[in-house]
Structure formats: structure tokens, C-alpha cells
Symmetry: C2
């Protein structure tokens, strides 16, 4: 390897080409308010994927897919070694922005173009991956593509899940295969050498610290529960207060207790959200008979997560209320070797960086089980994401892509 | 008047005929679970009305209708005096029972039959009325028929309102006229002499007191508001707690404040319910950006209702939150003379009664503006209503009808 290749690749990142590609991809499923609505494997998602496939082919890549419709754009290496992977997803929230996921994919493709333009060859192949259904909006759970890549047995269960219109993932995958009949299956070989995901932060920490790049050391653990409170429907006008069993009164009481012990256990790192509420019969003049609300509790410390589980169980038992665990994931600690490559890239580009624990899930959460992985963040303006107003300064988008190129070249030239 | 006529009429109430008529009417729109689903002016409602019209004609009544499709079954009096009215409604909640409204209409018809059987003539005409769309389930607001009877100018607005299928009340009224082409319009003359509505309590007070009849002295006043709390949607995993604007956190805080001052102002008579909640985006992992919840506050004391309005306005202003008044009605105090007739009837039949303020709205709320009015309640088992399980003991249904007959005969023989 030419010791200057990493910096050379970074310098060949073409800002206007990168920014233009973000705008072009955002046209697929564009919303009137400037946002994007692109459900996984929908017709607009397939159109977006066709654009990406054609773009990758034009860059000289081979394109493969797999059982979960992940797309792999491969730039060959000089040697027959496991590849370095980068990428993210291109499905969006219903009121999503242009950057969440898309930025990581398009930055990866821009790195391929920069390597081409600079005439740089790497020892290892470099693959830019589009992971399917990361958002989990159309099919649950999220991160289907990356988790099924790491554990293909999951596809049996995933295939049966249905979207709101009753269409199964299996059926959506058939439609995807029909849309791309010439794509060959990626041959499963050895684990990748490394995975690195470039992403917008989706939070305010980098902006608050006025630092343009975040070296992501891990992802906090999460607990998702649904808590179901039962009451008795009764007439709002005729039922004395002492004779009521109001499911909403019970629910807000339990919510307050959970919030209190969550903060006590987790301190400043606590993230606790009660985001989804279903109230029955949801009528002005009827006392609620059933209230189900969700808990999203996150923390980087596994001991805190376990203590939360214990206190929650005790709290719900005390109120004779049932709950369902919807999603549980332990904290992820990224591979120090790859984290160091990210930190080195920031340093080599002469830019400040912040060590950060990701508050959001990412495909890298699953890839970390497959190969040494890490992430790189750029700031989100106002910390806003999952929102049409999601934005990152152009300078930050370009700088993040340069840092990615730097990392990738180093990783692609690492010895076996 | 023969001084024994009232007791005689009561004694001619035929229990099995009354109970059979309740079962027969319940067949129109019967649900599999034993309840009734009979939207106002729907085809099943028109079938039910046809049954009632034929029943009334068989009893020798004249039958009239009006601009809101109210039905008037009139038994002539000996003198040309304003009539005494009784009745209720026959539309139901979507998951309604057999008694709410229907009981009052069928008990009225049973009183007419008893008067016929006993050969009793009264000075004043007696009208049994079926008020249209009391529940307000198909067309909003509720109590359309009775309010439009009292204030015919309301029909201009009511006629435009549409049901969930986009059918206007005006169109539904045309269908009703076509179903009953021979019914003549009720000639508007002087106000009625009195109105008395027999109804199930729809609450637990009579059952808790183990008393079979309730003398209803009034209807508590009501305030319906929608409170809209604004926040900022943000990622549940990435947004530090101190940087959040969680609309649900704000909403439950305001709910607690309102509940506290509602109880402080209203004491034991307070009825406060927060029954309907709309949470946006209602996602597990997104902080709520908009929460709208409803307040149903009721109290018999106008001063308490006004104080509630003032404190609510101050509370919402303090939190910079907006609200919308959905429905406002002052407390109704029934005419002491008619209330006394109801109490006398209970006494004459040798049964205990409880003075009660209605917690629910009824057509009598509007009729009280038209003529001296009152209500009579029978117990609701378990206080349950708006529910297929709605039930009242047969003995109570019969006793209530006997008391109604007693009242009606007295009222019908009152001097001008």
C-alpha cells in the first residue's frame, strides 16, 4: 500500500457529486414537505434500489443480493481476502428525512468513485451494502436485513411477518427478485474483515459539543416493553369516582413510577420514553377499559438494564398489570481496532472528534456479531431525525465521507 | 277524575307484555352478544319504528312526525288541552343494550295499553314520543330530535351533518319520510303540559343504595374540552432527557393538575374523565410531538362548573397549551311540580325512592326548556350501560312502568 492512499482517497471525495446523489436518491418517495417516505421493498424503494444498482454497475462493481434482498456492491481487491464492508439502509420512516441510512450508502458509493478516480487499488475487496428494512416501519422488527445476514436462520420467522396491508415479507421478496432477475446470490464465504457504518447522529451531542465527527464506541442497550392496564368501561357522567376502575388513571400512575426508578437507576445516561398509547374505547364520555403503553428504556450499562428489568417486574406485579417484552438488546461494544481506525482517520484529516455511544440502533449493532465493526457519526442539526427537517451541514457530510474513505482504505489494506 | 285512576292504571301494567315488548324491539339490530346496534334512521331503526307505529295504531293512537323524524303516539284526552308527554329514544350505541332509551318508549306504550285496558279516560291527551338520534353515534351532536323539537331552528345546521359514510341527516330524513308516507306532520300548538322520561339509571347509585326507583331532580352540568399539548418529535434513543419536549410528559402533568383542582372544587359530586387520547406519532421509539386528550367534567352546581372553567383556563395558559370546548351544558333543575308527582307515585306504590341527579344526558335535558319536566330512574345492574350486558331486574322494570303510569294519569288530569 502506498502510505498516502488513505489521504489521497479522502481528497478525491467529490463534494458536489456526493450532495447531488443525496438529492437524487431523495426523489424516490419524496414528500411534499421535503422529507422522504420510502417503505422497505415498496415500489419506490425498488426504484431507488434500481438507481443504486445502475450507479454501482457504472462504477465497475459486481452486484449481488441475498435471501433478505440486501444489496452488495463489490469493488474487487488485489487479493482473495475477506472484504471490508460499509453501508447502511435506504428505507425510511413514513415522515423520514433524506439522510438517515441513505447518507451511509451514498457516502460508501462516493468512496468507490473516489478510489476509481484516484486510481487506487486495495488488497481486499470493498463492499458497499444496502441493508433491507432497517427502520422496521413496514415489517417488524427493524434491521431485518443486517440481522438475517448475521443469522440466516432468522429468515424463516421474518418471511412470515406481514405489513399493515397483510403482505408478507416473503411476498415482498418475490417482488424484489422479479424486479432484479439478473442479480446473483452473494456466495456465502468467510466473515467480512470489518464493517464500518457512517451515519448521521440523530441526536444533539455533536452539535452541542460543536464537533464535526463522532467516533462511535458502542450502542446503548435497550428494553422495549408494552404494558397493558385493565380497567372497566363505564359512563363518565354516572359513575362516582370511588366506584371507577379507570385504566388510564392506572396507566399514568405506573408511568410515573417507572419514570422515577428509571432515572434513579440510570442517572444522566437514562433514556426513557413512553411513546405509543392505545386507549379503549377512547371515547370522551366513557372511562377507559384498556390502556396499553410502550416503554423504551436505554442505557449503556448492562447492570442498569438488568436492574431496570427487575424493578419493572416488581412494579407491574404490585399493580397486577401484565407486560410484553417487544425487543431486548444488550449494549454493543465496538471492536477497538476498528474504532481506532475511525479515530485515526479523524486525526489524519486534522479534525476534532467526540467519543460517543450511539443512542439509536443501527445495522452495525448486528454486524458487530459478524466481524469487527464500528461507526462514524456526523452531526444532526438540532438533533432532529425521523423527520422531514432532518439535516446535516454540507461540510459535515463531506468531511464524514472523507473520513470514511480514509478508514476504508486502511482497513482494505490490512494484512490477513 | 276518579281519585283511584292513577293506582288503577298502575295495576293494569302487564308485566309479561312489557317484558315481551322489550325483547321484540331488541330484535331490530340485535347483536350476537345479546346487545343491540341500531343507528338512528338506519334501516333497522326504520324497521323498529314501523313496529312501534303499528303497535301505537293498534292501541288506537294517532301517529304524527316532525321535521326531525320524532314520532308522536297520541292518545286523545277528554278536553282540548296541551298534552302530557312521555318517551325516550330507540337508537342505540354501536355496542348498546336493550334498555337505554327503549325502556322509556315501551313503558310509555305499556301505559297507553294499561289505560285502555282499565277503561280510563284522561282530561289531557297523552303522547308517547320517540326522539330521534339521542345517542349521537350516527350524527353529532346527540339528542337531535329533542333539541330540534324545542328549538326548530337547529334543523338548518343539523340537516347538513353527515354520518361516517357521508350521508347527511337531511338525506336520512328523506328516507324516513319515504318509509312512512302516510304519517302527518305534528301540528305545532301550545307547549306540552309536562314531560316525564323513564330511563335506566346507567350508573350504580340505586343499586348501591338498594332502592328500586330514583326520583330525578335534575341533570348535572357538563364541560367537554379537548386539550392539545405540543412537543417536538425526537428519537427516543438519542435525545438526552434534558433536551426533550415530550408532549406526553406535558399532557400527563396537566391531566394531574386538572384532576386535582376538579376534585378540590367539586368534592364528592365531581365526575372527571380523561377518556380520549390521540398521540402523535404514536411510535415506540419517538418522543410524542402532539397529544390531544379530552376532559369530561360534570357537576350539579353551576358555580363549580364556572370555577372549573376559570381554573382550567389559568392552568392551560400557564403551560401555554390550547384547548377547544366541544360541548357545554349548564345543570338542569327539573320542575318541582313534576318531580313531586314522581315522588308521590313512588310513595303511592309503597316503594322506597332515592333523590338523584342524573349523571348522563337525556332528551329531558332539552324538554326541560319546553315544559315542566322530570325523570324517573330504575336501577342498572352493576351500573353498566352502553354495553350489551346492560340489564335491569324485571321487577324493577315493571315497578318503574307502574310508577310512570301513576304519574301520567295525575299529570293528564291536572287543570289548565
Amino acid at each position: 500500500m502506498n502510505p498516502n492512499d488513505a489521504l489521497e482517497a479522502a481528497s478525491f471525495i467529490d463534494a458536489s457529486r456526493l450532495l447531488q446523489s443525496i438529492e437524487t436518491l431523495a426523489r424516490f418517495g419524496a414528500r411534499d414537505d421535503g422529507g422522504v417516505d420510502r417503505p422497505a421493498l415498496s415500489s419506490v424503494d425498488i426504484d431507488a434500489r434500481r438507481f443504486l444498482v445502475e450507479h454501482a454497475l457504472a462504477l465497475g462493481c459486481t452486484v449481488h443480493t441475498d435471501a433478505c434482498a440486501n444489496l452488495f456492491f463489490r469493488r474487487p481487491g488485489l487479493e482473495d481476502l475477506p472484504p471490508v464492508m460499509t453501508g447502511s439502509h435506504v428505507d425510511t420512516q413514513p415522515t423520514g428525512g433524506k439522510l438517515d441510512g441513505c447518507y451511509g450508502v451514498l457516502a460508501g458509493l462516493e468512496c468507490l468513485a473516489a478510489l476509481n478516480d484516484a486510481g487506487i487499488r486495495t488488497r481486499r475487496p470493498l463492499e458497499v451494502v444496502v441493508w433491507t428494512n432497517e427502520e422496521g416501519t413496514r415489517f417488524q422488527p427493524g434491521a431485518m436485513g443486517s440481522s438475517a445476514f448475521v443469522d440466516p436462520a432468522l429468515m424463516e420467522r421474518y418471511g412470515q411477518t406481514k405489513d399493515a396491508d397483510g403482505i408478507s415479507l416473503d411476498r415482498a421478496l418475490v417482488a424484489h427478485r422479479e424486479a432484479f432477475p439478473s442479480l446473483e446470490e452473494r456466495v456465502t464465504d468467510k466473515a467480512a474483515h470489518a464493517f464500518i457504518e457512517l451515519h448521521i447522529e440523530q441526536g444533539p451531542l455533536l452539535e452541542l459539543a460543536d464537533v464535526p465527527l463522532g467516533v462511535v464506541k458502542g450502542i446503548q442497550g435497550v428494553r422495549w416493553y408494552a404494558v397493558r392496564c385493565k380497567g372497566v368501561a363505564a359512563h363518565a357522567g354516572t359513575t362516582p369516582m370511588h366506584a371507577r376502575h379507570d385504566a388510564m388513571t392506572l396507566a399514568v400512575c405506573i408511568r410515573a413510577e417507572i419514570s422515577a426508578f428509571a432515572h434513579q437507576l440510570g442517572g444522566d445516561d437514562t433514556r426513557v420514553t413512553f411513546g405509543r398509547w392505545t386507549v379503549l374505547p377512547n371515547s370522551i364520555n366513557t372511562i377507559a377499559s384498556d390502556v396499553t403503553f410502550t416503554i423504551d428504556f436505554r442505557h449503556p450499562n448492562p447492570a442498569v438494564l438488568h436492574a431496570f428489568d427487575r424493578q419493572l417486574a416488581a412494579c407491574l406485579a404490585h399493580h397486577a398489570v401484565t407486560s410484553e417484552a417487544l425487543f431486548i438488546h444488550p449494549p454493543v461494544v465496538f471492536a477497538p481496532s476498528v474504532v481506532q481506525r475511525v479515530a485515526d482517520a479523524c486525526h489524519a484529516l486534522g479534525t476534532h472528534s467526540l467519543n460517543i455511544t450511539s443512542g439509536a440502533f443501527h445495522d452495525a449493532m448486528y454486524l458487530a456479531r459478524h466481524c469487527p465493526s464500528a461507526m462514524l457519526f456526523v452531526p444532526s442539526r438540532g438533533g432532529i431525525s425521523h423527520n422531514p427537517q432532518e439535516a446535516t451541514d454540507d461540510d459535515h457530510l463531506v468531511l464524514g465521507t472523507r473520513a470514511l474513505a480514509h478508514c476504508l482504505v486502511h482497513l482494505c489494506n490490512e494484512a490477513p
